[in-house]
Amino acid sequence: MARASYGKLVAFLAARTRDVAAAEDALAEAFASALAEWPARGIPRTPEAWLLTVARRKLIDAGRRRQTSDEAAPTLALLTDELVDAAEGDAAIPDERLRLMFACAHPAIDESVRAPLILQTVLGFDAATIASAFLVAPAAMGQRLVRAKSRIRQAGIPFRVPEREELAERLDAVLEAIYAVFTEGWADPAGTQARTRDLAEEGIWLGRLAASLLPNEPEALGLLALMLHADARREARRGAQGEFVPLATQDPARWNAALIDEAEELLLSASRMARPGRFQLEAAVQSAHAARRTSGRTDWAAIVQLYDALLGMTRSVVVAINRAVALAELRGPGEGLAALDRLQDDARLAQYQPYWAARAALLARAGDAAGAAEAYQRAIGLESDPAVRAFLQNELLHLA
């Protein structure tokens, strides 16, 4: 119960007081009280209402200690009324996690801290765990989270789901933060590093939450479909000795069929709403790859088309690299290389491994062994995953 309740209760308290940190503290104390009392007295009939009642008392105590009660008194009184309703009337505690997520991914909050903030407030992760997942020093992450929370309070960031006209844009920030949680974990499929092991699952959990709370938003469904498709290949990305297996040589029989089916269904529902978006397009690319499971082949023409649409929408250099690789499959390495060449003025590429890995593979296929060797060297130097590095070194070794 704790996991699903935590975010719900933080959201409920914070939406009323706007003080996320105080809500978290009060709730932590309430959970501690529950641990002490429930084993002896039995679990209360309405556990969430019990926790909220205790947390509210702690909030009032904390407010008195800070002597800021003038300001907080009306909201706390309101909170009391609502709580009494919830506890006595057996009414379900309203699920306001979506509002909480919109507050965490508000434009006034620094983009880099949005995903960590959601992990902390909705899932209850501590700063040290989040810091190691995002490879930031624990003290620095702690500070960033504290700053973000006081910003929510001081800037008066509202706890609400935006109106129709701004929903699309604001939802994008929420979905991006969830996707950032997922990709941190996705980079480490073997789960060899404890720091990232569970983040892919946490991202999917948050994605399911967003999709269930926003069933009429096709992009929320698209993001979930995208993550499920990627997760379906988790096992297949590593061989028996833990070696990296690229998509092209993966055995589709090792893909998780149930996850793929679920993703396909989500994508279908999303497409019926006829409002395409970035996550739906990315999920559609995944879907085209997954089709190899039944057809035995990959429809590269369809994939290039999807990347064209994505590129028109995002102008992202990452998308452009992927499109070049797909184009090479469709029309040969020469065209793919020409597409990569058009990107080379972008300074960020000096540190972007996938560009060099893609370039190396295409040069090798085009018969330019010397050029390929140089590009492989760059890709190896920029890679952080030992399994992928070993794979690239092997490719370099076997150049003609």
Binding site: A350, Q377, R378, A379, I380, G381, E383, S384
Partner: protein
Amino acid sequence: MQVLLLMYQDEKAIQKLPREEFGRIHGAFVAYVDALKKAGVLLANQGLGPTAKARTVREATVLDGPFAETKEQLAGYFLLDVPDMEAALAWAKRHPTLAHGAVEVRPVWT
């Protein structure tokens, strides 16, 4: 800012590695140095000789061995010039030593 990446690893474990594995680590280092140079952030880097050849001076007495006896020894350093600590950590994360040791990232007073 300038930062020093200090690489720590278990000397004995490295010496016992099979030839092929050692070759791969060496290759990864060459590629890493290459990537640092091409990105224009590398100021200097050196590997250090074995701690068996180290001498430590303490209170004007010369002692055999390294400064501290630990499981992992200081094996070398990379001096980088990067915009901020975030960028330094991004490079440290790619350090080949991480496959079998640790990298300490220290800002340098300049």
